[in-house]
């Protein structure tokens, strides 16, 4: 019931909510087993992406962003999973209920692509880059159109598309160029949704702008939806329409990017924003975040941000639900209740 109210927040849609979502994650739980302890990496997450929408997922290191994004495509190699439940509905099919084979078939065809956080590990050092991109194309294409399409993809991501460049090996490219080869591979299938986990963290600022520009252009021109995972709020501010803030396995705040960044409700979001160097006046220590994400195997009861929160009070021993705020966003904090905001101790 709670989740329905969030989905409808600010939208006047008469058709069923399900139809309008490209990706609809409902109550996703991914718990690992590590040294006989349960690591609650993703713990009851709801997240939605509409066709053609650009959505950001932010949070500190270890908050569960990568686990969440990888579990969408069920890429959890070698993980000892204690519990995995919920639904990941993509184009009206629950990916979690598909058989391995069916999943693989869809991945190949497919409308869902990923760019991983540690990209260089995903390029084969002994294969020419052009060949690697070609292998990501839909299998039914003819040889000639494959070659043509590879050159086209290279130009799209700002790489030289000439024959000689396609014949280079990954190590002959700079880091920024290799990152773009991976993006070209991810785009090869003309996905409806691209999930990019820290797509530009390893890049220079000037190259970063180039890569983000490319993503934004494809997003706009080909109506490709984006789910961008990052710790950089500025990147989200410039690229995304909506944002989810994740903390210790849960979504703690979500909403329209401008609203969330200009009037954050959750103290964690407030802390994240205050911790950004640009937001801090010279030598003027503002209240950025202190401490770090708790051990996901030893989570406290109640609000998980409690121990780091400057506003914590008695009620925080009880876990707050995600609730609508006065600005139309949602926040998992007792102090975000519209009627509670007057008494905000800050």
């Amino acid at each position: 019931m709670r989740s329905a109210s969030i989905a409808e927040c600010g939208h006047e849609e008469s058709n069923a909510v399900k139809e309008t979502q490209l990706l609809d994650i409902h109550d996703l739980v991914v718990h690992f087993l590590r040294e006989e302890q349960v690591v609650k990496a993703v713990d009851g997450v709801d997240l939605r992406v509409k066709p053609g929408e650009s959505v950001g997922l932010v949070g500190e290191s270890g908050s569960g962003k990568t686990v969440l994004s990888r579990s969408i495509a069920r890429l959890m190699a070698n993980a000892v999973i204690d519990k995995m439940s919920g639904q990941v509905v993509f184009q009206n099919t629950d990916l979690l209920s598909l058989s391995e084979r069916e999943l693989e078939r869809r991945r190949r065809k497919s409308f869902l692509s990923m760019v991983f956080q540690d990209p260089l590990g995903y390029l084969n050092p002994t294969k020419r880059v052009g060949r690697q991109v070609a292998e990501a194309l839909p299998p039914e294409l003819s040889r000639r159109s494959r070659r043509h399409r590879v050159a086209e993809l290279f130009t799209q991501v700002g790489l030289p598309g000439d024959k000689a460049s396609l014949r280079l090996y990954p190590h002959e490219f700079s880091g920024g160029m290799r990152q773009r080869v991976l993006i070209a591979m991810a785009l090869a299938s003309r996905p409806r949704l691209l999930i990019a986990d820290e797509p530009t963290t390893a890049l220079d600022v000037t190259v970063q702008v180039q890569v983000l520009n490319t993503l934004e252009r494809l997003h706009r021109e080909q109506d490709m939806a984006l789910l961008v995972i990052t710790h950089d709020l500025a990147l989200v501010a410039e690229l995304c329409d909506r944002v989810y803030v994740m903390y210790a396995g849960q979504i703690v705040e979500s909403g329209d990017v401008e609203t969330v960044l200009s009037s954050p409700h959750h103290p964690y979001t407030q802390g994240l924003i205050a911790s950004m160097p640009g937001q801090r006046r010279r030598m003027n220590k503002v209240d950025g975040l202190v401490g770090s994400v708790p051990n996901l195997a030893l989570l406290p009861s109640g609000c998980r941000f409690r121990s780091r929160c400057p506003h914590a009070f008695d009620r925080c021993e009880e876990m707050p639900p995600l609730m609508p705020t006065s600005t139309g966003s949602t926040s998992r904090c007792w102090l975000s209740e519209p009627e509670a905001e007057g008494e905000d101790p800050s």
Partner: protein, 341 residues
Amino acid sequence: MSTRPDQSATAEGVSIAGAPPPLAAKEVSVVYRTRGDFGRRTARHALNRTSIEVNYGELVALVGESGSGKSTLSKVLLDLASPSAGEVAYHGKALNTLTRTEMRAYRNEVQVVFQDPAASLNPRQRIWKCLASVLELRGVRSQLELNEEITKLLTGVGLNPAESFARRFPHELSGGQQQRVAIARALAMKPRIVIADEPLSALDVSVQAQVLDLMIDHQKRTNAGYLLVTHDLNVVRAVADRVVVMYLGSVVEMGDAEQIFERPQHPYTRALLSSRLSIDASKRRIRDRPILTGDVPSTTAIPSGCAYHPRCPIAVERCSIDAPEPRVTGDGSSVACHLAE
């Protein structure tokens, strides 16, 4: 503490007008020779007649594209790489002319913090031992004194309770805690100059802020000189006094931080600054940003003339022929561009 070449100029850690800077690189060049395809030898010109100085009491930020030579320049200043031309001077004296005592003073006075804290700490050494071995270099010997100093250092970098952290091994600490130990170790030598090469990039945003505060606090308190290598322009904006911009092995612009951010002169500096993403979503969106076309040219084939000319939007014919020399402009900054006023 009493073995610096020029006592009068440095007694209080203040640079006196006219005295040579405590640490400077003068027109240094570094060429790495690597084996390319089929055993062909290629030369990488990592630094090309680069000059920089660090004075007491100032925080100099060194920025530039990946591969532009920032780490190489830091290593040269730390005597961890030797230049093929040019020299590094400590209080005006070239490193290779320092006496043994002066060399020791240099090694004590100039300290480093690297990017990867885990790699810079010995995994088999408890934090106590790691700091003790540095303090011993400074002549602290008795167990009592060591304990006292180590507690002070760890508390100073916010690792409380110090006794508990001192007993741990590096792997029992988080990345941010490891980086603080690395800073504590650098500070144990009571450095007057600290060179920090991307000290924040391995850390989380919240931890970055803490580590940055720690260094700024030390810098202000002790009036030390800092050279901070970073790619985060928002950090530079927040903390730097002076900014040095590198491109492909050369310094293209340097000056007062305020000036550089408000009135960048070199086209590369402008491109760099306009790539800074802003959290203020109402201000600017990625699609409106100008992009720098073309990739960084390789250090194995540096373009003729101005190294930036193939990517420069305002280049004229001369730029591909003559290499511009750095010139001091009206506001005291220095820029290497034919077209800058």
